[in-house]
Amino acid sequence: MQKPKKIAPGQLEGAANRLLNRGGRMQMVYAWRPEPEQIELRYVAHEKPRKPFSVWACRPSKPVPSLARIWPLLSWYEREVTDLFGFPFQDQPQPEPLVLLAGAEPAAPPFDPTYPAGVELSVSASKMSLPEIAGAEAAVQLLPFGPVRADVLESAEFLFVYIGEAILHLSTRLFFKHRGMEKRFEGTSPGQAVILAERVSGVGTIAHALAYCQAVEAASNCVVPPRARFLRVLLAELERLYNHLHYFGHLCHTTTLKVGEAEGKLLEERAKQLNGRLTGSRLLRGVLALGGLRRDLSPQGWLSAELDKLREAFAGYAARLEETDSYLDRLITTGPLEREVAFEQGATGPIERGSGIDRDLRRDHPYAAYADLPFKVALRDAGDAHARAQVRMDEVQSSIALMQQVIDRLPDGPIREPCEIVPRSEGLGWSESPRGTLFYAVHFDADANLARVKIKSPSFSNWRAFPFTVHQTNMMDYAINEASFGLTVAGCAR
């Protein structure tokens, strides 16, 4: 990781503008406390493929200007800093709680040193704030939905403002599931914290644990042995495989293609059973460790044939989907996300690649063994639900091809290198999860304990972009559009 660049509060806006003009992309801002009384803001930005991410460190003594007007995607990150650290941003366009429920109002912010340990937040009646509706109020209807929704779904609250079939506005509250996971890392031993990272987002077990491990490995200059690096790719792609297969089952559910739904879910089940057979865990838990893997895996001799069967079954399935009018009619032109909006609002993963933004951390900032494993990044530019689905369709194929390469070329040798934590060190780790860009930033204190862990999850980014595809569309398309994003709430709320 590049050494953080010190930046004065007054220079932030200029630096943010220059980053935009030179074609970089802001990733996130987070706060931490190098000293109990000192808050430091960290801005992380992508400059160019295969160049290190740049990190700006700003130690403000008073509120700093919000950069949300230059980088709209920063707005949620700033609001999170305000909620958790009590640090305000000047001219924040939406200065209301995001991560904490309105009405929680703790005596001290949860990341403040004065916040009493072991005390749980509480909230009684908490109402969603609404935009003002002018004009023909009489015709406007409100539909509240959640936080307990239908079916087996994650908890989140939605409020539709609509006239007849047309949606005027969608308000969301996505942080009912906020568990304070970042704070839970603090003081946990770095090795045990892998177990925490695996449980931040269940269906992103590998992506999270891998980004965390790589952050710590970067901080402690630990070099992971080749066999472990290849096996990490295998695990990450197995995760992508079952997630994407689930995606198609669910997408067929919303387009009421019943056999397609059953077949998608059956393929997902087969993939999960392969996970169980390879690692002992259907969600691939308990394998990653700092410096490599906890135990060796033996994919050779059987996994390749199983993956081939899945590839063949999926190819037939995908071809049938692409020939089914009732399915295509409901996806094509549904929920369009303009390339510009995707960029500004920070959309990531298959969502931005469906809107024509050619980014993939596996290729642009390679980690594990991706630098040695060629693959083609899936890309579409229509920006609609169909484009998002097609990106995932291509990714299933390339994912299986990547795994076959890993199995063919898997080197022998050790699977773990000891990882010696350096006091007062810090590291940035990342992975391209099935849903997009995932970052972990870790900071160690003078005793080599975890002092701060920041998680930037892809669903946090994509949920922010999502409402832009809902406004001015209709109610019938909503569920299909949401399914086409393939979001998780747990990753977003953490």
Partner: protein, 267 residues
């Protein structure tokens, strides 16, 4: 327009005969709760308790029968760190994942657990052949949801067992809760429970719902369902796999025995 139905039929029957008849439960190779062998434990060693991230293994003051440690499977997240740390195989990996119990105390290891007694005419008996479930996510990592959603895939095909998920708590007999219960979900969870007609039951799915799991003791979470709503069935696991969930549901309906007593498989 492809012939979906034809292709579907050509796939043949994909549903496992298990649990109604002998067959593949789909969990080949899946690791469950670590097994505790107190007789293999070394004096002075606390390696397992030190690595446990959720305090499932704690040193017991005063040695007695059952070794030096209290092992609470209701707190276990199946991470296997203890099995790797133990130098003497007193903690070993196993495939014991069917850990549904109706008494919380049965998740704590004890020596000489009694064998299961035959169930006798409890209140849920009328629901044996048709059970409606309302699920509430009280702040899970989505791992439990992933496995709950799998129940309706063609392999497990939960419907054939007469068990259905329902959208409204008004139609539900059983509330199935995942997650450690965040401060923000506590009221919506209670409201859902209150909206259910009596008789009503609650099943805690996953270690988070049983005891709080990895998110416990933070500023946003409590200790699972403890002290929030009464629980009738506890199923720890991280996450419990679909077969474990099916076993727990059938156990609740008295169509299958409870396999675990005193923290070990006795059935």
């Amino acid at each position: 327009m492809p012939l979906w139905t034809l292709f579907g039929l050509l796939e043949g029957r994909q549903t496992t005969p298990w649990p109604l008849a002998k067959g593949n439960n789909g969990q080949s190779g899946v690791i469950g709760m670590p097994r505790y062998h107190p007789d293999l434990c070394c004096e002075g060693c606390e390696a397992c308790a030190e690595v446990c991230p959720t305090g499932a293994i704690t040193l017991r003051p005063g040695a007695g029968e059952g070794g030096r440690f209290d092992v609470d499977y209701g707190r276990c997240v199946v991470c296997q760190l203890c099995t790797e740390a133990c130098p003497t195989d007193a903690m070993t990996p196993s495939s014991d994942w069917a850990f549904g119990v109706s008494n919380r105390a049965d998740l704590v290891w004890r020596a000489h657990p009694e064998r299961a007694k035959a169930a006798q005419g409890t209140a849920q008996r009328p629901f044996r052949r048709s059970l409606h479930i309302r699920h509430v996510d009280s702040g899970s990592c989505n791992g439990c949801e992933s496995e709950l959603q799998a129940l309706n895939n063609p392999f497990y095909n939960l419907h054939r067992l007469g068990i259905f998920f329902t959208a409204s708590p008004r139609f539900a007999d059983l509330l199935l809760v995942t997650g450690p219960v965040t401060y923000a979900m506590r009221e919506p969870l209670r409201a859902t429970y209150e909206a259910m007609p009596e008789p009503r039951w609650v099943m805690a799915i996953g270690t988070c719902a049983v005891s709080g799991g990895v998110a416990e003791n933070g500023y946003a979470c409590g200790h699972g369902l403890e002290g929030v709503i009464p629980v009738d069935v506890y199923l720890p696991g991280c996450p419990p796999n679909p077969a474990a969930i099916i076993e727990a549901l059938l156990m609740f309906l008295e169509r299958a025995p409870q396999r675990v007593r005193g923290g070990q498989v006795v059935d």
